[in-house]
C-alpha cells in the first residue's frame, strides 16, 4: 500500500553550521514518482536521508502516511519506517550473495528462511538475474549490482522507495536501459517513490512530479511539463536546460501573458512573462533549446541573426552554437540540416520557449 508523504517546514543544520535544508514543505500523493532535482550541495541527498531516518531533522515535520516520523521531538529510526532504498553506490554487502542481499530486506516480514530465499530468487528473476543469484557483489557488473539493489528495494513491498542517484555510476547506454527498468518496476510495485538526481533529462523522463532544490530551499515543485514550460525562477530555468540568455527592453505587455521585447541587436519578439512582476524597462530573457529555430539569414520573420561557431551531429539532426553580435551565444539550436561553421543564419524565437525574468536575476 503506497503512502503519502507530508513534509512541513523542514530544516536541517549539520554540526559546524552548514544549513543543508531550509523551510522545505512538500506534499507527495500516494503512488507518485517524485524526482528531487538540484545541483551538488542543493540539499537533495540530505532531504532523502531525512526521509529515510538516517539523518535527524533540525526543525519541521515529516509524516509518512498518517504517522509523524520526524519532528523536533520524534525521530523514528530507519528500521521502523517501513521503507526501502537504492543507494548511490548500491551498498550491497560484499560478504553476502546477491540472493542473500535481496532476502535481507524480508527480515522485517518475519518469514521463514526458505520463504525468504524463494521470494528473493523470484525477485531476482524479475530483474533478470535469476542465474546469478549465488554470485557475490564483486562478481557482478555495475548494471547487475544496480539490479540487485533494485530487487532489494522492491522485495519487501514497502509503501515508500527512496532512490539516491542510482544511475550516476553507470555508463550512458546502461543508464538509459536501467532508467526504463526502474520506471517500470517501481510503478508496477505501486509504491510512492522519491528519487534524486542532478540530471534534468533523467528527472523529466522518470517523474510524475519534480521538485527543484537550490541551496537547501525547494524553489519549485510540479509536473515536469510545468517545470519546463513555466520555470518559477531563473535558477530553475537554467538548471532545466537553456540555449542561452540575454538582456532585452520591455516594449509592450499583452493580456495573454506574453510580453513584446526588443533585443539590443535584432527584431522585437514575444516572450512569456514569469510569475513575478517585471520591474523597470529592462528584463532578462531565457531561451529554451526548443524555443529557437534556425532559418535563412535575412528572412522576413527573423528575430535574431548570428554566425555558426560550432555544429554537432546528434543522430536525428544537428545542434548548432550561434554567436550573436559577439557577446551572446545560443547553444543546442536544432536543425535537421547541417549549417557549416562560419555561416550567417537567422533565428526565429517561439514565445513558449522564451521566459522573461526581471533584469539582474
Amino acid at each position: 500500500m503506497a503512502d503519502p508523504i507530508t513534509i512541513e517546514n523542514l530544516g536541517k543544520t549539520y554540526p559546524g553550521g552548514n544549513q543543508a535544508l531550509r523551510d522545505v514543505s512538500l506534499e507527495v500523493e500516494p503512488g507518485t514518482f517524485l524526482v528531487l532535482l538540484g545541483p551538488s550541495g542543493s540539499g537533495k541527498t540530505t532531504l532523502l536521508r531525512c526521509l529515510a531516518g538516517i539523518e535527524r531533522v533540525s526543525s519541521g515535520r515529516i509524516a509518512i502516511g498518517k504517522r509523524t516520523v520526524a519532528d523536533g521531538r520524534i525521530h523514528v529510526p530507519p528500521d521502523q519506517r517501513d521503507l526501502s532504498m537504492v543507494f548511490q553506490d548500491y551498498a550491497l554487502w560484499p560478504h553476502l550473495s546477491a540472493r542473500d542481499n535481496v532476502a535481507f530486506a524480508l527480515r522485517r516480514r518475519h518469514l521463514s528462511r526458505s520463504e525468504c530465499r524463494t521470494r528473493a530468487q523470484e525477485m531476482l528473476d524479475r530483474v533478470g538475474l535469476a542465474a546469478l543469484a549465488s554470485r557475490y557483489p564483486n562478481e557482478l557488473s555495475g548494471g547487475e549490482q544496480q539490479r540487485v539493489a533494485l530487487a532489494r528495494a522492491l522485495i519487501a513491498d514497502t509503501g515508500l522507495i527512496l532512490c539516491d542517484e542510482p544511475l550516476s555510476n553507470l555508463d550512458a547506454d546502461l543508464r538509459e536501459r536501467m532508467r526504463v527498468e526502474i520506471s517500470a518496476l517501481v510503478r508496477e510495485a505501486a509504491a510512492t517513490t522519491v528519487y534524486i538526481t542532478h540530471d534534468q533529462a533523467e528527472a523529466f523522463a522518470l517523474a510524475d512530479q519534480v521538485g527543484v532544490l537550490e541551496r537547501g530551499r525547494l524553489v519549485q515543485a510540479g509536473p515536469p511539463e510545468e517545470i519546463y514550460t513555466r520555470p518559477a525562477t531563473p535558477f530553475v530555468a537554467r538548471f532545466t536546460g537553456l540555449a542561452g540568455e540575454f538582456g532585452v527592453r520591455v516594449r509592450e505587455r499583452d493580456g495573454d501573458g506574453t510580453v513584446l521585447v526588443e533585443p539590443p541587436h535584432g527584431h522585437r519578439f514575444r516572450a512569456r512573462a514569469s510569475a513575478g512582476p517585471l520591474a523597470g524597462p529592462d528584463a532578462l530573457v531565457m531561451i529554451r533549446p526548443t524555443g529557437v529555430r534556425l532559418c535563412a539569414d535575412g528572412s522576413a520573420d527573423v528575430h535574431l541573426s548570428g554566425r555558426v561557431t560550432d555544429v554537432a551531429f546528434r543522430g536525428r539532426g544537428y545542434e548548432h552554437a550561434i554567436d550573436i553580435d559577439g557577446s551572446t551565444r545560443l547553444t543546442g539550436v536544432f536543425a535537421e540540416a547541417r549549417t557549416a561553421r562560419g555561416e550567417m543564419v537567422g533565428l526565429r524565437l517561439d514565445p513558449a520557449g522564451c521566459h522573461l525574468f526581471p533584469a539582474g536575476s
Binding site: S84, Q88, P94, R107
Partner: protein, 568 residues
C-alpha cells in the same frame, strides 16, 4: 637485473635453503652420515624442543587473539567515535610497533624482578612477579605487540567501510545491533589478517623469548633454536629441524588465511564511499573508552617505560628507591666497566647508528629496485620474486640468522675466499637481507602509483633523464622512501636476533651490549643504555620527519601523504 637476482640468491635464498636442507640431508653439508633423514625433525618434536614448540604455539595463538581483542575496539573507537585524543593514537601505535619486543620485556622485568623497582618502592607483591615472570607475562607482552598489527589492519578496512552498508541495513529493517552484526563480517578479512600476522609475529619473536621467557624458565621455540646453535656442542641439524617447524608454524596460518579469502573479494572501497558518521561519546561511554585505551598504552608503553627509566636511575645494589645519575655518568665516562665493554659504553650505540644508517640506505635502494620489478607486468620472474620476498617476510629472524651462520661457515666458503663469518660486513648483509623484503612490500604500493607517463611527460617537455626522474618520479615516492628508511634504521638500530647470532666479536651492537650488561647484573647501566638508545631512535625519527617537512616542497608532502599513508 641479473646482478640483483644473484645478490638475492646469495643473501636471501641460499643461506636459508642450505640451513633448512641440512635438517633432512646433513651429509650434503658434511654434518653427518645420512643423505636423507627425518631424525632431526623427529628430535625437534620430542623432549625439551617439543615443549618449546607447544609453548610457542599456544602462547602465539593467545597473543594473536589478544591483539585482535584489543586492537579491534581501539581501531573502531578511533575511526568511528569522537574519542578524545584520537588524533594522537596512530602515532602512539607506531611507537608500540617500532619498539622491539625485548625492550618492553626488559622494562617489565626490571619492575617485577625480586630486586626490581616494584620492591624498591616498597611494594612487596610476589604474586605480580609470579604472574609477569611466566606464561601470563609472555602472552601479555606478545599480545600487546600484536595490537598495532590488528589496529593497522582493521583501521585500513574501516576506512573503506563507508556508512552506506550500515545505512542500507537500517533502512531495510535491521536494528542498530543487527546492522552491526551484518557489517562485522565485512571486516572478516582484516580480522583474519590480524590474527594470522599476530600469530606469525609472535611465534617468530625472539625478543621476549630471549629475555622475559628465558628468565622465567619458560621455553619458547625461537630461543631453543638459538640454544641449539649457541650451546656446546652446537647442533645445526637439530636447529634446522626446529627451523622447519617454525617456518611451518608461520606459513600454515598465512596460507590458510589466503586460501579462505581466495576468490572472495571483500573490496568495499568506491570513489563515492560516504564517510562514516562518528558516534558522539558522552558521559560514561566517553570515560570508559578513554580509560580503556589509556590502560592499553599504560601497559604497553607506560609501565615498561617507567621500568626502564627508573631502573636506569637506580644503583645496581641495595634495596632502596634512591635515584641517581651514576649510570648515565658511567655511559659517558671511561670507567673500568666501559673499558670492559670494549672501548666505552657509548661505542655500541655509535656502532648501531652506523649499522642502521648504512643498512637503511642500502635497503631502501634495493627495496625500490625490487618494488619496481614487482609493480611491472607480472611474469614468472616477478612472480618468483614476489614469492621469495613474501616467504622472507614470514621467515623468523632467528632462522635467518642461523642460516647465515651455517652457510657462511661452510668450508666451501673459505675455499672460495669468502671469509665473512664473524665480520661486520656479514652482519650488515644479514640486516639488509632481512629488511629488504619488508621494504620492498612497503614501497611497492607507492611505486605502483608511478605511471610511466609521469616521466615520459617530463621528457616530452624537454627534461633530461635525471631531471625527469627528479620531477616526475621522486615527488611521488619521496615520502614512502623516507618512511621506509626510518623504519629500517630504527629496526636495525635496536635489532636483536641477527645481532645475537652474527655480531663480530669485540664489536657488539646496542642490543647485545645491553643484554651483556644485564646478564652481568649491571642492570642500571644496561637500562641507561636502553633508554638512551630509544631516545636516539625517537630523535632520529623526529629529525628526519621534521627535516622532510621543512625541506621537501609542499607538493611532495601532499602526494606522499596520499600515497604513502598505508604503512609508510
Amino acid at each position: 637485473m641479473p646482478l640483483f637476482w644473484l645478490l638475492l640468491a646469495c643473501f636471501i635464498l641460499a643461506p636459508c635453503a642450505c640451513f633448512l636442507l641440512l635438517a633432512v640431508s646433513p651429509r650434503l653439508f658434511g654434518q653427518g652420515g645420512q643423505w636423507f633423514t627425518l631424525t632431526y625433525l623427529h628430535q625437534a618434536l620430542t623432549g625439551a624442543t617439543a615443549v618449546a614448540i607447544v609453548n610457542s604455539l599456544w602462547v602465539s595463538s593467545a597473543a594473536a587473539v589478544m591483539g585482535v581483542a584489543i586492537g579491534f575496539p581501539i581501531a573502531w573507537l578511533v575511526a568511528r567515535t569522537t574519542l578524545p585524543g584520537r588524533r594522537f593514537l596512530p602515532g602512539a601505535m607506531w611507537l608500540v610497533l617500532l619498539l622491539p619486543s625485548w625492550l618492553p620485556a626488559l622494562g617489565w622485568e626490571r619492575i617485577v624482578q625480586p630486586d626490581g623497582v616494584m620492591y624498591r618502592l616498597g611494594l612487596d607483591w610476589p604474586w605480580v612477579t609470579h604472574a609477569i615472570m611466566g606464561p601470563f607475562g609472555v602472552v601479555l607482552l606478545l599480545g600487546l605487540r600484536c595490537v598495532p598489527f590488528s589496529y593497522l589492519a582493521i583501521t585500513a578496512a574501516l576506512a573503506g567501510l563507508g556508512q552506506e552498508f550500515e545505512d542500507a541495513a537500517r533502512v531495510h529493517g535491521a536494528s542498530r545491533v543487527a546492522a552491526l552484526r551484518l557489517i562485522i563480517p565485512i571486516l572478516a578479512p582484516a580480522i583474519w589478517s590480524a590474527l594470522a600476522i599476530g600469530f606469525a609475529e609472535s611465534i617468530s619473536d625472539f625478543g621476549v623469548a630471549a629475555t622475559l621467557a628465558y628468565n622465567s624458565n619458560f621455553s619458547l621455540a625461537t630461543y631453543q633454536l638459538y640454544a641449539a646453535i649457541g650451546n656446546f656442542p652446537p647442533s645445526f641439524p637439530l636447529a634446522a629441524g626446529m627451523g622447519w617447524l617454525l617456518v611451518a608454524a608461520v606459513a600454515i596460518p598465512l596460507a590458510l588465511q589466503a586460501r579462505a579469502l581466495r576468490g572472495r573479494s571483500y573490496a568495499v572501497l568506491s570513489g563515492r564511499t560516504r564517510l562514516a558518521v562518528r558516534r558522539q561519546l558522552r558521559g560514561w561511554s566517553q570515560a570508559g573508552a578513554t580509560a580503556g585505551v589509556g590502560l592499553f598504552f599504560v601497559v604497553a608503553l607506560g609501565v615498561p617505560g617507567f621500568g626502564a627509566v627508573s631502573a636506569s636511575l637506580l644503583a645496581d645494589y641495595g634495596g632502596s628507591f634512591k635515584l641517581t645519575l651514576a649510570n648515565y655518568h658511567a655511559l659517558f665516562a671511561q670507567t673500568n666497566l666501559a673499558a670492559a665493554a670494549g672501548g666505552g659504553l657509548l661505542s655500541p650505540i655509535e656502532r648501531s647508528l652506523g649499522y642502521g644508517a648504512v643498512t637503511a640506505t642500502i635497503t631502501v635502494i634495493g627495496g625500490f629496485i625490487a618494488a619496481r620489478m614487482l609493480a611491472r607486468r607480472r611474469t614468472r620472474a616477478t612472480g618468483a620474486l614476489d614469492f621469495l620476498l613474501l616467504a622472507s617476510v614470514a621467515l623468523p629472524g632467528v632462522v635467518f640468522g642461523a642460516g647465515y651462520i651455517f652457510a657462511y661457515n661452510l668450508p666451501i666458503m673459505s675455499r672460495l675466499g669468502i671469509n665473512l663469518y664473524q665480520t661486520v660486513t656479514l652482519l650488515i648483509i644479514a640486516y639488509t637481507a632481512a629488511s629488504l623484503p619488508t621494504n620492498a612490500r612497503v614501497l611497492v604500493g607507492a611505486v605502483s602509483q608511478l605511471q610511466p607517463s609521469l616521466k615520459d611527460a617530463a621528457r616530452a617537455h624537454g627534461a633530461g633523464a635525471v631531471i625527469a626522474w627528479a620531477r616526475g618520479v621522486l615527488p611521488v615516492v619521496s615520502r614512502p622512501i623516507v618512511m621506509a628508511w626510518l623504519f629500517t634504521f630504527c629496526g636495525v638500530f635496536l635489532e636483536l636476533p641477527l645481532s645475537q647470532l652474527l655480531y663480530a666479536p669485540g664489536s657488539p651492537p646496542t642490543s647485545i651490549a645491553i643484554e651483556d650488561n644485564l646478564s652481568n647484573y649491571h642492570f642500571g647501566v644496561g637500562m641507561a643504555q636502553a633508554v638512551l638508545a630509544v631516545a636516539i631512535c625517537l630523535t632520529a625519527v623526529g629529525v628526519v620527519l621534521g627535516g622532510y617537512r621543512l625541506l621537501a616542497p609542499a607538493g611532495w608532502r601532499r602526494i606522499g601523504s596520499a600515497i604513502g599513508g598505508g604503512r609508510g
